[in-house]
Symmetry: C2
Subunit: 238 residues, 2 copies
DNA sequence: GTCAAGAAAAATATCGATATTTTTTGAAAC
DNA sequence: GTTTCAAAAAATATCGATATTTTTCTTGAC
């Protein structure tokens, strides 16, 4: 345990770990954060030699982290011509959203069918935690944004936590990560007259009432609204 | 072009390439074939040192190929404890089949909605090629099995080739590969009184008639029957 | 006889060096 | 001016050696 931490410091004693158990994982996380945050621009070339210096990590290790990101479709591998940050586009966002809607609904239907008391309790708890931060968010504290993202994610995860298909959940996760790249456009656009809190409440109510048809429709609308808010920004500066 | 071929022979002149452009790809393909064929048993440990000798390939290269297979869910990575062939189980097969049914139907609905003349022609052509080999298959020529697999795959691909979502097709491909591992159980079970040819014909007819509801139902039944044929074998010897 | 601790062995993760490929540059011919 | 070819430069892919971790085996105490 403690040994792990020691290992992840290099000879000069610089700390590297941030919860990563492996150097590959560390490289993977940093790379991912830089891609999602836009520091590594969409479509840009990922020069291994350059990144090697930036992250202080061996080239092979970097390659493996890059390979992992290819599976997430955040990076594309071009035969023998190295790696590149996956490009973004309105078309791509529409495709992600379309798939996310499907996966989310599949998972939600399954959860509504099978969920037990504990599942219901989890939803209520996650919604409460989200509500509390939304109250404070109106103060305009930007620092809360990340925390809100996190609780928002946990709320949506709670809704579908009774789904029994490992694969549905896995695909849903992948798609969520892919959509994360577009999220900063969403933040730019601001609330835009939406009542997100109300949407969440309605989704929760329909879910707890075991009304799959309504819950799915609400979730789809929820996602469509987010897409609609981002679309114009994406069309302008891609 | 020719240079590539030369490179993929090792110093002793042994040929390595089989359409692989990269050593990683070569390792990936061989590994995959050995996993699908059962030479590397489900749940078994993948000792890098051992495989290194078997495929005559460096350890780092092997690791990257293994990482690629993790994305396909054919291999699982266990933290810092190496790699392992993903285990198989009836439960897993049921999950794969469930997802495949969903993906296939999503893709089929989209194709039926958008398909043009060329799409229709492609389906007819693929069905014809499949029919011809099915006629000869009744002779009991085992050697044809692989060829039948191939044409069967192409027929199902043709049905959904008008689908516009890159991601639906991508997920479908991944799931198809995952189900491939179970196919040898299907071969063991034999035809089992099924009229596969008739099923294919019915699916094609409904699709070309643009009847999405019927086509999807038939596809789901088609897959369920395959699952049903495999299930008892899998329960017996997992 | 069982359990625990520590040492030895095996396996994995990481790295930087080398071989190979792709891209860029520059000069000559048209 | 632009096209072609070859050499140089840059970048990538591959490898085997080394560092680290996990597992196995041995020894000794209870």
């Amino acid at each position: 345990m403690t040994a792990t931490v020691i290992v992840l410091r290099d000879k000069k004693g610089n700390r590297r770990a941030e919860g990563a158990k492996t150097l590959i994982e560390y490289a993977y996380q940093r790379l991912r954060r830089d891609i999602l945050g836009g520091a590594l621009p969409p479509g840009g070339k990922l020069r291994i030699e350059h990144l090697r210096g930036r992250y202080e990590i061996g080239s092979s290790t970097l390659r493996e982290a890059l390979t992992l990101l290819v599976a997430d479709a955040l990076v594309v591998s071009e035969g023998q011509r190295g790696f590149r940050v996956a490009p973004i586009s309105l078309e791509d966002l529409q495709d992600v959203t379309r798939m996310r809607k499907m996966m989310e609904c599949l998972a939600l239907r399954d959860s509504i069918e099978r969920g037990d008391d504990q599942w219901e309790a989890g939803i209520l708890a996650a919604h409460h935690r989200l509500s509390r931060i939304e109250e404070r968010l109106s103060d305009g504290a930007e620092a809360m944004a990340e925390s809100w993202e996190n609780r928002n994610d946990l709320f949506h995860k709670a809704l579908i936590s009774a789904c029994t298909s490992r694969r549905i959940l896995h695909f849903r996760d992948i798609l969520y990560h892919q959509s994360e790249r577009y999220r900063r456009f969403s933040l730019m656009s601001g609330p835009g007259g939406r009542d997100i809190h109300g949407e969440h409440r309605a989704i929760m109510d329909a879910t707890l009432a075991r009304d799959a048809a309504v819950a799915c429709r609400l979730v789809e609308e929820h996602m469509d609204k987010t897409l609609a808010a981002m679309a114009p920004l994406l069309a302008a500066a891609p």
